[in-house]
Assembly symmetry: C2
Homo-oligomer: 142 residues x 2
């Protein structure tokens, strides 16, 4: 039951983009250095966000990446769904449950409930909430 490096790195790099957003594009290289993540690996992670138009990319010298939306318009759940595929802890509580034991399974509702609390929690946070200085006097949400 873990969130993979892909998801964690994705979040970190989107926060990095949000915090360093000026009117320029930020080269992957810079973010990889700041976040101490391999450039090539990060590249493969960021790809899907470009495709989903959460991030805008510009090629060539002077190019780089920037967020296409405001940080508060990007939810943590959305980010993790794109990297992890699903956030459901078990297949039977996911988008298309399929298990021939479901009918007399005692645990289906348990998993669906777990799914629900995870969904509620993760959808309640945006990239903005994770940026330095956000919320409640701490640097972090509490």
């Amino acid at each position: 039951m873990t969130i993979s490096t892909r998801g964690r790195y994705a979040l970190r790099v989107l926060i990095d983009m949000a915090e360093n957003q000026r009117d320029v594009y930020i080269p992957l290289k810079d973010m990889a250095a700041r976040q101490e993540i391999s450039e090539k690996y990060l590249e493969s992670i960021i790809k899907v966000f470009v495709k989903e138009q959460i991030v805008t990319a510009v090629r060539g010298k002077g190019g780089g990446y920037r967020l296409s939306r405001q940080p508060e318009e990007i939810s943590v759940e959305e980010v993790l769904l794109l990297t992890e595929g699903t956030l459901s802890p078990v297949a039977c509580a996911g988008a298309s449950p399929s298990c021939r034991r479901m009918e007399d399974c005692r645990t289906t509702a348990l998993w669906q409930g777990l799914n629900q609390v995870i969904h509620e929690y993760l959808s309640s946070y945006s990239i903005r909430d994770l940026m330095a200085g956000a919320g409640c006097g701490y640097d972090y949400i509490i």
Copy 2:
């Protein structure tokens, strides 16, 4: 972010034990057949519950397994912790967080919060709650 078959099978077999508990011991074979799980694999899963004295085992002919405690005294969280090792979705929110980036990491609190909601949810359910006929008029919790 998934609960492995080990955890799911463990829950199912403990529920099976609870539902079929008379004054006799239940052979692994019977439960494996009812739950459609390989005997040998189930054996390797059940081992830890015997060790932790959640289940009592009796060897030899006429032997088998039974719960050592009442179903309401066994929480779902406890069961899953024993099979999954940890329920923390990321290492930095687990029992012994260790990441040299923690100090200026923006996501630590997010993961700790997620950990917390999962903990609260899973610790609120016992094996009893998952048995057929438990709670609220449905066969399942809702």
